[in-house]
Symmetry: C2
Subunit: 149 residues, 2 copies
Amino acid sequence: MRRTSFADMNCSVAQTLEIVGEWWTLLILRDAFLGVRRFDEFQERLGIARNVLTDRLDTLVEQEVLERRPYQDRPPRDEYVLTRKGRDLLPVIHALREWGDRWVFGRDRAPLRIVHERCGHRTRAVTTCSHCGEELRPGETRAVPGPGA
Amino acid sequence: MRRTSFADMNCSVAQTLEIVGEWWTLLILRDAFLGVRRFDEFQERLGIARNVLTDRLDTLVEQEVLERRPYQDRPPRDEYVLTRKGRDLLPVIHALREWGDRWVFGRDRAPLRIVHERCGHRTRAVTTCSHCGEELRPGETRAVPGPGA
């Protein structure tokens, strides 16, 4: 079953889901952020069918979220590395993890902790306002038409 | 086709996707954050089949992301309101929108702008470290086993 396409929606949330919203894609990206690069390692960690993984990786390369880099000549083998565009998806992964830590596992049973290497401390991702730096809380933002409305 | 379940993965990202990763679900939540509460309004804005919308809303109510509130007696009608647990998904929506604004539309063609009402300024969502307050950039965090590893 081909899922619905959101391609004609004039909305950045929908357009992002058009690229990364396929089943598995965000988990492939999660693993890429954890340092996974090779097909077999993705396959083993995710337990995903090889044809599905191939398809998802191809789409991510096409969309310039991942790029292929050869790491071996005989037989030729590529690894998959996050591009700048791909690395910019980190806040999505952080936000998903944050919510699961809090609401599914409970923070004191979180499977992973994240360490911010620049400051050296355990961290949680906090979504803040680019203007005033305060946390962006629900009910304190509103949407207005943008230049592409 | 029933999609794969991530329910047995010991990972907060996977568990969050288990709840909100179905096609449409994040767009339903996007609209809920924009103030939509009624079935017919969701249906009209999304152009989604009524049975699919019913199914997604039921799941979100079951998962306590939305709650039903009666707004009319005859005929009885409920609206769907974000719970605390649901409102905590706002960073996911912000992160998806941010990326689409930047990488799909380009910021000067973004369909919507977000205003932070507390400070009164147009805002972008910035993901920051709960400890030092600096932006959490790719390559500057690492994952370590948590208490639930």
